[in-house]
Amino acid sequence: MNLTLKIWRQKDAKSKGKFVIYKLDNISPNCSFLEMLDILNESLIRKNEEPVVFDHDCREGICGMCSLYINGRPHGPDDAVTACQLHMRKFKDGDTITVEPWRAKPFPVIKDLMVDRTAFDRIIQEGGYISVNTGGAMEANHILIPKPAAELSMDAAACIGCGACVAACKNASAMLFVSAKVSQFALLPQGRPEAKERVMKMVKMMDDLGFGNCTNTYACEAECPKSISRSNIARMNLEFICAKASWE
């Protein structure tokens, strides 16, 4: 395949960025998108140019580190995959492919296609856990959990924290990410004792960090590589309203 790449280049957080066009020939359709970028970088280094910086690590769709906005969609044109599992067979010979970083105020660009997502860590630090110290646990089977609840909890827990939901949202809302964690614990008996405090604190931090509100377009669900359901947002809203009512 022969391709034209239009890639966002930005020196650092403070500099102004711009698109730069690169031509790439002879790409195998079985190549992954990131392997295609590896090939581009190899050629740039050989020409004494600076390689394109992008985040990636596991390359099997689970670490959540890759974060490319490809042809106007987080993680590109294939459904329910991360960019590292997107393969070039999803494109056509002669295509022009536009590659940008996540665009959201709480995710500032570090360099080129790499952004800072520590905002997600800060939300989790507010309450994305069950407060139990090591060694303080009871026998595992003393907590019986109905299979449907465990399955729903697992559906929510599958979130990889990549930030595609924020990048997809016109408001840069983090509701899908936050609600997935709130739901995981809200659905389990272990999570109930702290449920109110958890949702209040996590939502407050989400707002404080500058993430936008949800206006129910569900772009987040459509673009989520793990297909996290928007029903988690409804569950979080319910948890939040109940918590707020009993809090005040």
Partner: protein, 645 residues
């Protein structure tokens, strides 16, 4: 030269850990506040250790090279975690888990360590459930189990095909709680560059801030390395792209011994290699072997036609299929341990029965289990794995058998540690895959997660405390002292040396070349000739690297190529040691298979007379290592030839 004292406590194996805990020294709460602990790596072992230390009241600094601690490669573990709960009432016990793990490791692990691992396994499950890890459940609400290789009981707990992810997120959440409480300070996008030694003890690290490129100095009364395995020395592996050996390799240069480097695990069920541009190999969980049957065509001409694309798997009749694992190992069938399954697949492919375009693949077939259980059951059990396979290979595994081939997955070797997980450097502890401790020559499936969390939650909080009890009077050493300045200078010199080369080839070029040498000469089937040749080739490549690598950019900025070059430089040294260890070990055991030492049936031929020891290598200078031996003593178990027939 450090002494190899394994410090195994006295008493019967089942009481050693209790005895240790009963007699160890503790640190009182007011003194804990005065003590700093550095943890490098945020995978299962590192995150769980850091969280536990924070809960106890120590000051913790934790480092990872990724953008968030939640990205560590433990996250990619799929199948499950073992524990001796015996919920299915199928005959499991702590002893049975201990025995299976020891036998699975081909009697090259320490009894005392393995027994402790089995002992604490149940508490790990309790801990994870309390944290809200959504394990699979039965309809009655209790926990569900499944089988894994090397065991005849169902003792594996799982969260779909994402068990590692869920356990890591559990540890990450515990870590996040301690970060919020101010007990742990998190340093993401920081890479450890060197260890700082003061008066013969590990007292800190030099880290590079990967965003600014600046070197930074950190002090700790103790340092814990939980930096994972070194599988990426093969370039293509199931490891993450950033997984590296640099932290443990730098520690080795300060006097930590490297144990059993040649014990590397090749996982039988990975998606086969397809092209030169390929950057990594994707694992298909071992759990698939519960319901999938592995086969190749019985007739060579059928295999040949399949390779040419003229004969599809589904068109090969049942009587012309060779279910070679079931044929060779009727007792364990498709659930033999990984090393055995991998070698059997290689044997068939080498003999001309391999399938797929390259001939380096075998089938993993779900037709029978879909017929027996229905597609929906298979989908519920392995849905995400089937989806992943289809995305990568572009073929529907519900309709056509998967094609799989062995790939480098895990490294049993690592820094030598004693019973307390302390290396030969005082104050330097090593946990998880980075140490050599529990898996001998081969690791059983679902045991890596168990070991990572055992080390972090239940071993280090005791043993590091025992060490620190003697450090309560040691004041924090200022990082502007000479030891820190010297260590930083050394790192700076090395980075400048790398940047000054300005050769013609990229870092990836050298890494791929190294990978080819390793796979060809130090891979699944090793010989004296091949290893000797491999060592010469690695030396040659290392020389070329140091004169011809090209790294663009500057040191004091975000520079991905420089990060990679620094790691590959260490892999180029480690590769040689790995081959040397394989050459020195004149036997076959577990993941180490020397073609000269096999039974007439092609099984491993161990030499317990001469090689029942841990090979612990001391770094002398580049390309020169000194061997020390820790004899392995088996008091509880009888050392037998492994038999899965």
């Amino acid at each position: 030269m450090a002494e190899l004292n394994s410090k195994i406590p006295k008493g019967p194996v089942a009481q050693k850990w209790s005895n240790y805990k009963a007699h160890q020294n503790l640190v009182n709460p007011s003194n804990k506040r005065k003590l700093d602990i550095i943890v490098v790596g945020t995978g299962l072992a590192g995150a769980s250790a850091a969280a536990s230390f924070g809960e106890l009241g120590f000051n913790v600094k934790i480092f990872c090279y990724q953008d968030s601690p939640r990205r560590a490669h433990s996250i990619a573990a799929q199948g499950g975690i073992n524990a001796a709960k015996n919920y299915p009432n199928d005959g499991d016990s702590v002893y049975r888990l201990f025995y299976d793990t020891l036998k699975g490791g081909d009697y090259r692990a320490r009894e005392a360590n393995v027994h402790r691992l089995a002992e604490v396994s149940n508490a790990i499950i309790d801990q994870c459930v309390a944290q809200g890890v959504p394990f699979a459940r039965e309809y009655g609400g209790s926990l569900e189990n499944r089988s894994f290789g090397g065991a005849q009981v169902s003792r594996t707990f799982f969260a779909r095909g994402q068990t590692g992810q869920q356990l890591l997120l559990g540890a990450y959440s515990a870590l996040s709680r301690q970060i919020k409480l101010g007990m742990v300070k998190m340093y993401n996008r920081h890479e450890m560059m060197d260890l700082v030694m003061v008066d013969g003890k590990a007292r800190g690290i030099i880290a590079r801030n990967l965003i600014t490129g600046k070197l930074e100095r950190y002090f700790g009364h103790a340092v814990i390395l939980a930096t994972g395995g070194y599988g990426n020395v093969f370039y293509l592996s199931t490891n993450a792209m950033g997984s590296n050996t640099s932290a443990i390799w730098q520690a080795m240069k300060h006097g930590a011994y490297f144990a059993n480097p040649c014990f590397t695990q090749i996982h039988p069920t990975c998606i086969p290699v397809h092209g030169d541009y390929q950057s990594k190999l994707t694992l298909m969980s071992e759990s698939l072997r519960n319901d999938g049957r592995i086969w190749v065509p019985k007739k060579k001409e059928d295999a040949e036609k399949n390779r040419q694309g003229q004969l599809k798997a589904n068109d090969i009749p049942e009587e012309d299929r060779d279910y070679f694992l079931e044929r060779r190992y009727p007792a364990f069938g498709n659930l033999v341990p990984r090393d055995v399954a991998s070698r059997a697949a290689k044997e068939r492919c080498d003999a001309g029965f391999g399938v797929g375009p390259t001939g380096l693949a075998v089938f993993l077939d779900f037709k029978e289990s879909i017929g027996r259980l229905g597609k929906h059951v298979i989908e519920e059990r392995y849905g995400n794995l089937f989806q992943m396979y289809e995305k990568i290979v572009d073929e529907n595994p519900y309709e056509n058998p998967m094609m799989i081939y062995p790939a480098v997955h895990y490294t049993m070797g690592g820094l030598w540690v004693d019973y307390e997980l302390q290396s030969t450097i005082t104050g330097l502890f090593v946990a998880g895959e980075a140490n050599f401790s529990d898996h001998g020559a081969n690791r059983l499936g679902a045991s890596a997660l168990m070991q990572g969390l055992a080390d972090g939650y239940f071993v280090l909080p005791y043993t590091v405390q025992n060490y620190l009890s003697a450090e309560i009077k040691t004041p924090r050493i200022p990082v502007d002292s000479k030891a820190f300045a010297d260590a930083e200078k050394k790192v700076q010199d090395r980075l400048e040396k790398l940047m000054a080369i300005q050769g013609t080839n990229t870092v990836d070029h050298f890494h791929k070349e190294l990978g080819k040498i390793m796979w060809e000469h130090v891979g699944m089937g090793r010989t004296k000739e091949g290893l000797t040749k491999g060592i010469a080739l690695i030396r040659d490549l290392r020389k070329k690297f140091w004169s011809d690598v090209r790294i663009p950019g500057k040191i004091e900025e975000l520079n991905v190529e420089l990060e990679k070059a620094n790691r590959v430089a260490d892999f180029l040294e480690l590769g040689e040691l790995l081959a040397l260890d394989a050459l020195e070990r004149n036997e076959s055991c577990g993941g180490h298979f020397r073609e000269e030492y096999q039974t007439p049936e092609g099984e491993c031929l161990r030499d317990d007379q001469d090689y029942k020891y841990v090979a612990a290598w001391e770094y002398v200078k580049e390309g020169e290592f000194r061997l020390h031996k820790e004899p392995l003593v088996y008091e509880e178990t009888e050392v037998k030839a492994r038999n899965y027939k």
